[in-house]
Symmetry: C2
Subunit: 243 residues, 2 copies
């Protein structure tokens, strides 16, 4: 007849755990010896090990108690459910691990590989680190909020960068960040941007605006907030497009 401490060591749990199981009616309270110590038998060891197997699998203690009284068929169904649940939990953990590794490899790589490639391309084309970082944030946001259309948008953006004139517009946008908001270059750039936009897109169907989302505004807001020149640029472009 073993004591609670030995039972605990055998089953690889703490004494407290055993007492909790008694309190919750999972494991029957054993006899007490003359001094009030609990004395356990082989049955208890076996029961405890089974309980732990279920508990380790994530079954709530209350459920385990139910199962101890349930008919065999129910128990087996429950075991199948738990097994399936374990499988999905393992799969999820693996996915999380993948995300984690992306996060460790640098923020940008939280995105699908296509995006990392896009950002690398930006760096090659001579965009400033600040711009690349901003684009990273932006695409994180787009992919997080509109996964369905994000890929399409990204391809459109890649096309844009393939055209030297359009690419120059973005390079100038990047460069404008530190200019005075009233630098004449800003107005000239705004003109080019409005023209290019009208050229490329149906004015009422700008990309990304077909979903009733506030994400584009959100992004633009974030962008504008980082530079007064950019803020003015946005205002000017909007004016010209809405004439």
């Amino acid at each position: 007849m073993i004591t609670i401490g030995r039972l605990a060591r055998y089953a690889g749990v703490t004494i407290k755990t055993i007492r909790v199981y008694h309190a919750k009616g999972l494991l029957p309270e054993p006899e007490r010896d003359s001094s009030g110590y609990r004395r356990y038998t082989a049955r208890h060891v076996i029961d405890l090990i089974k309980i732990r197997t279920l508990a380790d699998a994530g079954v709530p203690l209350a459920r385990i108690r139910e199962l101890r009284a349930a008919p065999d068929a129910d128990l087996h169904q429950a075991l199948r459910d738990v097994d399936a649940d374990l499988t999905t939990r393992i799969r999820n953990l693996r996915r999380t691990q993948k995300h984690l590794r992306r996060l460790a490899a640098g923020d940008a790589d939280l995105l699908p590989p296509e995006i990392s490639a896009h950002l690398d391309r930006l760096r090659e084309l001579g965009f400033s680190p600040r711009w690349v970082e901003l684009q990273a944030d932006l695409w994180v946001l787009v992919f997080a909020t509109h996964p369905e259309t994000a890929t399409e948008l990204l391809h459109d953006q890649a096309d844009v960068l393939a055209d030297p004139a359009l690419r120059q517009i973005f390079l100038d946008y990047d460069h404008a960040h530190d200019l005075d908001p009233h630098d004449p270059f800003i107005e000239e750039l705004a003109g080019r941007m409005a023209d290019a936009t009208r050229d490329r897109y149906d004015v009422d169907r700008l990309p990304g605006q077909d979903t009733d989302s506030d994400i584009p505004a959100l992004i633009q807001g974030t962008v504008n907030a980082s530079s007064p020149a950019w803020q003015r640029l946005d205002t000017l472009v909007r004016q010209q497009l809405h004439d």
Copy 2:
């Protein structure tokens, strides 16, 4: 500028979760609009997604808050630790799943395959279901408490069953369960058992008794409790061995 509900949907969490993160200083409180509603920006979406990645990996929220302020080197070390931890967690879940399947396949199979084979053998040899079940419990206990010596004991037991005379002793033991404690057969069997034990083992070194464990007594106690005849058998054998 999105509301808390939208942010929650984007990040796949509940509103409450976001409020908790604010309360714990994980995610900075955003500006409020004129009616006191929180208004979030792109930054918040990105931060929240990162936080969730860590939280999903099982990092405690308090730790995540620390990491947000920690230098880059620390963060990367932490990410490596978390990654390793995830790997062991996945491995443990897999082991648990294996245990669970054994449990589903019938109690006996909670034991290593060698034991299941042993129990199958018992069934073939004509032992009663009750005996087989008792042996299952017994071996569960032995393997749970003394994994180092359990295999050795099992092999010894397999040897014993290979000898027809010894096997007959166990079959008779099984059969004795339902006899009257004073049936003469019991005394005769006790004699055979004592002889066989003396024959096979050094009297002071019975198998399993070299560890200072109460498990053998525990097992014998459980066995004895299930039948008065068995109880008497044990008493008689002990008497004869200790003369």
